[in-house]
Symmetry: C2
Subunit: 675 residues, 2 copies
C-alpha cells in the first residue's frame, strides 16, 4: 500500500518554489485517480483556479496529447474572472488522451500593462522603458533564430530611444508583435506545471449514443415450442433493425448446467424438459468459451455477427462470471471456488435464500492471478469472434480492482471494446464501477417515475461531476425488472417509459419482445419478476399483434437518429411546469443546431394539462421571436411565442410530445421558413 | 516539480489489491495537501465513504496520533447508512495531530450475520457452524496469549458440537464475546489503509476565541501634542483591559524612515515635524529588529509585554516586510531589492500610483534563502521578547511558499505562536494564505451590511469546507477602513457593527480609540481613509467623552467571555425573519449548554420590527415548551413559546438584542427556574 506523506518542508534545497497556484481543476475525478470519458470528436472544457501572490500578469496553458504522441499541444487559457481560467480541446482518437496545465508570471506583460497606465497618467517613462528593454533581452535569450534577433534589436532600439526619442520608444515597446514575441519566450520554467497528468478515455461514438435491444435467442423460433437458434436470430434481425436498434444484446449463449437446474417460474425442482437459466453457465458441453449446442455452432454465431453488422447492428454478449456446478472449471480448478467444510463447493446464496444452480468464483483465492487471466481470456475469446460490446452481469459482486485491470488491459489492445455495467446497488458502488472503467452503466431509471424523482436523478447524472465518468444506459424493463408502473399502467405506461428512456438518455435499451408487446404479468403480486419468465423457459411471441409498440418504437428511434440533440446528455434542461404529472425538458446539440423539447404525461391513467415556463432563449430562439414546435411523433406543428405555453396530453392517445424546435429563418426572397 | 503519474496498472505483481474503497474523506483540504485547524480540546469528526464489492460486513477504524507519539490510537467507525462511516477524536496538545482511516472485510462478522438469518429461517446449520469454526481458527492464529487460547478452544468445541449438539454450537458461535474477539483479530492486512495521513494543526484556544484592540502607541500620551511612548501604553492598559480585550495589537514600532516621508493626510511633501507612517520601516536607527527611539527602549517594551500579561492582555506586533529607503538592509543588502536601470532602488507602486516612502523586498532575488532566513529571524527576534501573536501586513504580496515555510518553521519550535493574515484581496488568495498556515484571517466583514450579504458570507465561512482552515477575525474598522456604513450611520451604526463582529465571529477586533469614539470623518467623500489619520500623525483622543462606546463594548465582551456559545463559530445558524432589515441568528456551544440568540437592526436610521420563524428545538428547547430569552445587553427578560416571535429594535435606543436562551428547569422542590 503506497502512502502519500503530505510534504512538511515546502521549500526544497536550491530551488525557489513557484509563486503560481493551480488548483480546483475541472474536470478531475477523485484528484485525478480516475480518467474522465469522452467519445471521438467531443470537447473537453478544462477550468482551474490559477493565481499568484501580488498583482502581476499571469499566462496559462492547457496542455494535451494522445498517449501515443510525444509532445504536448498547447492551448492558451483565458481568464473568466475571479482567478478562474478556461480552455478546451477536442479528442480525436480512441485510447487515452492526457491533459495538464501550466502557468507562470509574465514579467513583460506585467510591465507592459503598467506602462500603459503610466502613459495614460502622463508620467515620465524613460527608466520604465529601460526596464522593459531588460525584459525583452531576457526573452531574446530564451528565443532563437529570427525571433531572438528581432527581440534583441527591439531592446537595443529602446535603449537608444529612451533618452532621445521617448515617445517613439514607448510606441515601440507597446507594439503588439513585441508583446506576442516576449510572451512566447517568457521564462515558463519559473512557473508551475500542474502536479498531475489527467486522463481522458476516448471511445468510439457508440459509447455515448446507443440503442439496445435484448432478446433470448432460444425464444426466437417462429415455431411455438421449438428451441430457437442463432439462425432464427438472423431471421429476426430485420425486425430488430427496422425498429431502429443498433445493439442486439443476447443473454449468455453458453451450455446450461443440469445440476440443480431451475424449473419454470424459478421453481427449485426442474422437470426433464426444463431448459434452465442461461446464467447457470457451463455443462459437460463446456463453459464460458463454448456455445449451447441447441443454439447452434460457432459457424452459426459468426454468421449472426456478420449478418447483424450488415444491418447496422452490433451483437453484445453477456459476461456473467459464475458457474453451474457442472462447469468444467469446477472439476479442473476447484481452487477457484470456495469449498465448504463438508467438501462440497459453496453455492451462491443470500441467506436465507440459496441459489444452488450457481457456484460463485472466489476472486480472493490464492492463485487469483490464474483465475483473473482466465476470465480475461473469456473476453478476448469472444473478441476473436467479432464481439466488441459486453454487458457485464452483476459486476458489483466482483472486486473493483479486477474490473479496472480487465477493462484497461482489454481496451489497451482493443480500444473499441465497450462494457456495460449491470450493477443495481448503492450509488457509491455503481459510480465506483464506472470510475474503474465501465463504458456505460445501468441506472435507477426503471424506478424513477415522478416529476421530482426524475428531475433530481437526471440532474445528478448530467449536471454534476458524475457526468464525467458515468454514462447512463436507461432500461424501462429487463428480464429481471417488470416495474409496478408497467404492471399497472397498460400500453400508455410502456409508451411513456419508452419516450423517457429514449429522450432522457442518449443510450437506452429494452428487453423485447416483452416490451413492445407490453407484457406486464408479474410472477406474483408485488414481485418485479415476469410470470413465465424467459429466464427459465422458451417463450413464443406473436410479433404481429396489432397492439405491438413496434411502429412507435421505430418512430422514436428514427427521431433519435435524425436529431443530434438526443445523441448526448450534456445539455439536458428541465423546464418548470405547473402540473407535476407532466415532465418537460429539452436537449440541445453542442452546436445549437438541433433542439428537442419533450413533454411527457407521467400519469398513464389520466389526461393532464399544464402551463410550461419556458423562455425562447433557453431553446436557442431569439427573445421575443415566435417559434415553431413540430411534434415528430404526430407531425403536428404549433406556433409558440413568449414564455408560457399550454400543453395537454391524453395517455389514451399519446402520452408524450417530442417536439423539434424550429427557429424562423428569413430567406433571400423574403419568405419565412422554420429551420 | 514532482509529478504524480496516475497509476495505469492497478494490480501490483504478487499482491492481491484490497477490495475495500475509502473515499471522500471529510475533513480533508485539497486532497490532504493542507492541514485542518483546531484548538486544544476540540473535536475532529471524520467521515468517509467506505465500501467494497459484494455484501460482506465491513469494519473501519479512525486512526489518530500526535506527531510526537509513536503509535496510533484506534477509534471504531460507525456506519451512518449508504456507505458513509463516521468517528471522531479530540485533540489535546499543540502541534500536529495526524489521522487516517483503515477498513477491511470482516469474514467472521459476515458469517455471523448470515448464521443469524439462517437460524431465523430454521435452516440446517451444521456445515455453517464448521465454516464458522474455521474462521475462528484464523482469528486465533492472529491473536496471542489467553485470547488465542479462548478462540482455539471455542473452535474446537464448535467442531465437536456441530454434529452432536447443534443448538449448543449455534449458541456458542453467536456469543457476543466470541464475536468481539474474532473481530478484534480479523486480518486487517487484507484491507485498505487510506492512502493519505491527514494533519490537524492544533493551536491554543486564543486561535479560535480572541478579542483584539488596535492602537497607535504614539497617540497614547495623555498630553496633547506629545509623542506617546510604551510607558503611556502601559498606563492605557487598564482602559483596554476593562473593555474586555485580550489582544493589544500595535502597528509597527520600528524606526520610521525619513526619505520620501509622507506628511499629514498622506501628502507626499512632509514637513519637518511630520512623524511619518509606521509602515515605512527603517532608518539610521535600525530596521525590523529595532524600536522607534521616540517610543522607548527594549526595557520599556519588555515592561509593556509583562504589564499587559498581568492584565490578561497579549501584545500582538505587526509584521510588515517592507522597508523605508533608509532601512539598513537597503545599503547592506541591495541584492534583496529590485534595482532600476538608473541604479535607484525600485519603490512600491500600483501604477500610476507611487509609494515612494516604501521599497518592497524582492522575494524572487537570487540569494532568496538568505533573505527568507533574515525575515524569519525578525519573527524569532520578537518571540525572544515575549511576543506570541503577529498580525501580518499584506501577506498576499509575498510568495505563498514563503509563508508556508516561515509559519511552519516558527510553529515547529513555538507552537503557541499565532499569525493573523491581513489580506484584503480575492477569495482564492485569502483562502490560500490560510491554507498555507495563517492562524486567523481578516475578512470581507467590513463591507457586508445587508441581510443577504451577511447570511451568504457567514454560511460560506462556517458551513462549508472553508471552516476547516480559515478562521475569520472580524474588524468593523481598521486604520485603513472607515466604511460608508460607519461614516453615515452615526453611533447606532458603530453599535450594530460591534455586536455583529462580536457575535458572528468568535474572534474580532476594533481599531481604537477611533472606534469607541465613533470617529467617522473620511479624508474625502467616497474615500475609506480617515481624515487626519493616525497613520501619518499623532492624535490625541478624549477617552472620557460621555458618548464613548467604552461601556457598551465592555458589556459585549463580558457577554462573550461568559457565554461559551460565542467562543466558536461552529454552530452558527441564521433564522428566517419577515423583515430584511433585521438579522437574527443563534450560536450554541458544543455541549448545548450555552445558547445565544442575536437580533440586529441593520438599518441605523430607523426602527424596525418583524416576526422571527424559530422553533424551540433549534435552540435546544423541547418542542411545545416555553422558554425565556434574557437580553444580556439590557437585562430584560421575555417569555417566548411556539415558533413565531415578535421583535422590534430602535437604533436610537439599542440596535440589537443579545439574548441568552434559558430553558425551564424543574427543581426538586417543584419550583421552576430558567437555566
Amino acid at each position: 500500500m503506497s502512502r502519500e506523506i503530505a510534504s512538511k518542508t515546502p521549500i526544497e534545497p536550491g530551488r525557489r518554489p513557484s509563486r503560481v497556484v493551480i488548483a480546483r481543476v475541472r474536470p478531475e475525478v477523485d484528484g485525478g485517480r480516475f480518467p474522465i470519458k469522452r467519445v471521438i470528436g467531443e470537447e473537453v472544457e478544462v477550468s482551474a483556479d490559477i493565481f499568484a501572490d501580488g498583482h502581476e500578469v499571469l499566462s496559462a496553458l492547457l496542455l494535451h496529447r494522445h498517449e501515443s504522441a510525444a509532445g504536448w499541444d498547447e492551448i492558451p487559457m483565458v481568464e473568466l474572472g475571479n482567478d478562474r481560467w478556461q480552455a478546451s480541446f477536442r479528442v480525436s482518437a480512441q485510447g487515452h488522451q492526457l491533459y495538464t496545465l501550466q502557468a507562470w508570471i509574465d514579467p513583460f506583460l506585467s510591465w507592459r500593462r503598467d506602462l500603459l497606465k503610466r502613459v495614460e497618467a502622463g508620467q515620465q517613462t524613460a527608466v520604465d522603458v529601460l526596464s522593459g528593454a531588460d525584459l525583452i533581452v531576457q526573452a531574446a535569450e530564451l528565443a532563437s533564430g529570427a525571433e531572438a534577433a528581432e527581440l534583441a534589436e527591439c531592446a537595443k532600439a529602446l535603449r537608444r530611444e529612451a533618452s532621445s526619442a521617448l515617445a517613439a520608444a514607448v510606441a515601440r515597446a507597446l507594439d503588439d508583435r513585441i508583446a506576442a514575441l516576449a510572451a512566447k519566450h517568457a521564462n515558463r520554467a519559473a512557473g508551475t506545471l500542474y502536479e498531475r497528468e489527467l486522463r481522458v478515455v476516448v471511445d468510439r461514438e457508440r459509447a455515448r449514443f446507443s440503442t439496445w435491444y435484448e432478446m433470448f435467442p432460444r425464444s426466437a423460433s417462429p415455431e411455438p415450442g421449438r428451441y430457437g437458434t442463432f439462425r432464427d436470430v438472423i431471421a429476426r434481425l430485420p425486425y430488430v433493425a427496422d425498429m431502429g436498434f443498433d445493439v442486439l444484446y443476447l443473454p449468455p449463449i453458453h451450455p446450461i448446467g443440469c445440476a440443480s437446474r431451475k424449473g419454470k417460474n424459478n421453481v427449485t425442482q426442474s422437470r426433464d424438459h426444463d431448459v434452465g437459466s442461461p446464467w447457470a453457465i457451463g455443462s459437460r458441453d463446456g463453459g464460458h468459451k463454448a456455445i449451447d449446442p441447441q443454439l447452434g455452432t460457432f459457424e452459426d454465431f459468426d454468421a449472426l455477427v456478420e449478418a447483424a453488422r450488415d444491418r447496422g447492428l452490433e451483437i453484445a454478449l453477456d459476461i456473467a462470471y459464475q458457474c453451474s456446478p457442472d462447469h468444467p472449471w469446477v472439476k479442473e480448478h476447484p481452487e477457484w471456488f470456495r469449498i465448504r467444510p463438508d467438501g462440497t463447493v459453496q453455492y451462491a446464496e443470500n441467506p436465507p435464500k440459496k441459489y444452488e444452480d450457481i457456484v460463485p468464483l472466489n476472486f480472493d483465492t490464492g492463485p487469483w492471478r490464474e483465475l483473473w487471466e482466465e476470465l480475461k481470456g473469456v473476453v478476448e475469446f469472444w473478441i476473436g469472434h467479432g464481439v466488441r460490446i459486453f454487458r457485464v452481469d452483476n459486476p458489483h459482486t466482483k472486486p473493483f480492482a479486477f474490473w479496472e485491470w480487465l477493462i484497461s488491459s482489454v481496451k489497451r489492445e482493443f480500444p473499441d471494446v465497450l462494457f456495460l455495467s449491470e450493477a443495481f446497488t448503492r450509488p457509491n458502488v455503481m459510480y465506483e464501477l464506472a470510475k474503474r472503467g465501465f463504458t456505460q452503466s445501468y441506472t435507477y431509471f426503471a424506478w424513477r417515475n415522478t416529476h421530482w424523482d426524475l428531475t433530481q436523478y437526471f440532474r445528478e447524472l448530467t449536471r454534476t461531476g458524475v457526468r464525467e465518468f458515468f454514462r447512463p444506459n436507461l432500461w424501462p424493463n429487463t428480464p429481471d425488472i417488470l416495474t409496478e408502473y408497467l404492471q399497472f399502467g397498460g400500453r400508455p405506461a410502456f409508451m411513456a417509459r419508452l419516450v423517457l428512456a429514449a429522450t432522457l438518455g442518449s443510450s437506452y435499451g429494452i428487453y423485447g419482445p416483452a416490451f413492445e408487446l407490453c407484457e406486464n404479468r408479474p410472477l406474483r403480486s408485488s414481485s418485479e419478476e415476469y410470470l413465465d419468465s424467459e429466464k427459465y423457459e422458451v417463450r413464443h411471441w406473436d410479433l404481429e399483434r396489432p397492439d405491438s409498440l413496434r411502429e412507435f418504437i421505430g418512430r422514436v428511434n428514427r427521431i433519435r437518429r435524425e436529431n443530434a440533440a438526443l445523441q448526448s446528455n450534456d445539455r439536458l434542461e428541465f423546464h418548470p411546469v405547473d402540473n407535476d404529472q407532466l415532465l418537460v425538458y429539452s436537449k440541445t446539440s453542442e452546436d445549437g443546431g438541433s433542439v428537442i423539447l419533450v413533454a411527457v404525461n407521467l400519469n398513464p391513467y389520466q389526461r393532464h394539462s399544464g402551463w410550461i415556463e419556458l423562455s425562447p432563449e433557453s431553446l436557442g430562439v431569439p427573445a421575443r421571436q415566435a417559434f415553431q414546435v413540430h411534434d415528430l411523433l404526430t407531425g403536428a406543428r404549433y406556433f409558440w411565442q413568449g414564455s408560457r405555453h399550454f400543453i395537454e396530453l391524453d395517455p389514451a392517445v399519446a402520452p408524450a410530445h417530442i417536439f423539434r424546435v424550429r427557429r424562423r429563418v428569413r430567406t433571400e426572397r423574403d419568405f419565412d421558413y422554420f429551420l
